[in-house]
């Protein structure tokens, strides 16, 4: 095998590896986003949309909570890496209100969970809610500086 052919095959392998990785990432995305309905008739909850942003000093979790009573917002740490946000809605929503008559159920709360992969100080969280957008800011636990010699 010539030197040129050998080099090309390495690039081909790298391309194949990248494609494989992208397929896996797509599959992971599919399983993350399509995991069941966005409602739960047993808990009477609708799933809220949410985001987690990690900055050097903070973790910011936001959630879209339209039509809620701000005083009912609850932010709880389920475990070290998982927080749960719930809030009661001003008015119950039934499937029929959405024009859907082949399902039965009514919903009184919005709920979402956010997974956080860095250490946070949950006791120092700050919560604000404006126009139904909830923002929870958690300071990150102290970082340690590595001295460069």
């Amino acid at each position: 095998m010539s030197e040129k052919q050998r080099k090309r095959s390495i690039f081909d392998m790298m391309n194949e590896y990248t494609e494989e990785f992208e397929t896996l990432a797509d599959e992971l995305m599919e399983s993350t986003f399509s995991g069941g309905p966005s409602w739960n008739t047993e808990t009477c909850c609708l799933q809220a949309l949410s985001n987690v942003f990690i900055t050097p000093r903070e973790v910011i979790v936001t959630a879209d909570l339209p039509n809620i009573k701000p005083e009912t917002v609850k932010v709880e740490a389920v475990d070290e890496n998982l927080i749960e946000i719930t809030a009661k809605m001003k008015k119950k929503v039934r499937f029929a209100d959405l024009g859907i008559h082949h399902r039965q159920g009514e919903f009184s709360s919005l709920r979402c969970q956010g997974r956080i992969h860095v250490a946070i100080d949950a006791e120092k969280m700050k919560i604000s809610c404006k126009g139904g957008i909830l923002e929870v800011r958690f300071p990150r636990k102290k970082r340690y500086e590595i001295k460069v010699e």
Partner: protein, 247 residues
């Protein structure tokens, strides 16, 4: 016309109309704005897209099946919406077909409605709207009518392709982009986009009901937003945050 995608006409399609495109994208701004416009102006369904590239889905409305990607219109206006997130691999073919079909129908102008993601959207009371155009003449017209111009930046997704294919076909195209949440439905941004649309066209829509129904729309649009986010990630939509380099 591409073999894998075709637009099926149900009724007579006007010639020389303005074509508004509102496909699911950032904050669902284009979809919310265009759907609201369709309902306020009582536009009729005149065509739909049939394609093996789209998921095998029909949407039932009042018990009757509809294609998710539909085209509405009246004598002066054509409006394209999709009730499903267009899969990223299909977006090129779908947009090329829409622009080609628009050209065949001799549309006067193609207007893509959409959002520009801004990180601090919740701190913005009134989202700003920016415009982009396929040629200098149109850009000057937007400026003259008071629209802020998006001078530098990346566009990714349906608006980007509508612009790209319009340029290659020498068609007149405009993008109207309102500051919005990235992955939360944003009816306020949609209302601002419609207000700006009225400055540059004859299309006048009262947005008060849209603003009143904002919370309800946000609640109902969660599922399509979630699926749209998945496709936006595949399209590398976050590149819209990037700074372009042109020396």
């Amino acid at each position: 016309m591409s073999e894998s995608v075709k637009i099926v006409e149900k009724k007579a399609v006007p010639s020389g109309a303005t074509m508004i495109i509102g496909l699911p994208d950032v904050g669902l701004v284009g979809l919310i704005a265009t759907s609201y416009m369709i309902s306020e102006l009582n536009l009729e369904e005149i065509a739909y897209m049939d394609s093996d590239l789209l998921p095998p889905v029909v949407v039932l409305h009042k018990g009757l099946p509809h294609a998710p990607l539909r085209i509405y219109g009246n004598q002066n206006l054509i409006a394209v919406i999709s009730e499903l997130a267009v899969p990223a691999p299909a977006i090129y073919t779908v947009m090329r077909e829409i622009v080609d079909w628009g050209q065949a129908k001799k549309v006067k102008r193609i207007v893509s409605m959409g959002g520009i993601p801004v990180e601090s959207r919740q701190a913005i009371k009134e989202p700003k709207v920016f415009g982009a155009a396929s040629n200098q003449e149109l850009l000057d017209m937007l400026s003259k009518r008071g629209l802020s111009i998006m001078n530098e930046g990346y566009m990714v997704g349906p608006q980007a392709l509508s612009m790209r294919y319009s340029v290659s076909k020498k068609a007149s195209a405009i993008a109207i982009l309102a500051q919005s949440f990235y992955n939360y439905p944003d009816p306020e941004a949609a209302a601002m986009a419609l207000k700006e649309l009225s400055k540059i066209s004859e299309i006048k829509v009262d947005v008060s009901k849209l603003l009143e129904k904002g919370a309800e729309i946000r609640l109902n649009a969660r599922d399509i937003m979630k699926r749209t986010q998945q496709e936006m990630n595949r399209m590398k939509k976050s590149q819209e945050y990037d700074l372009p380099l042109y020396v």
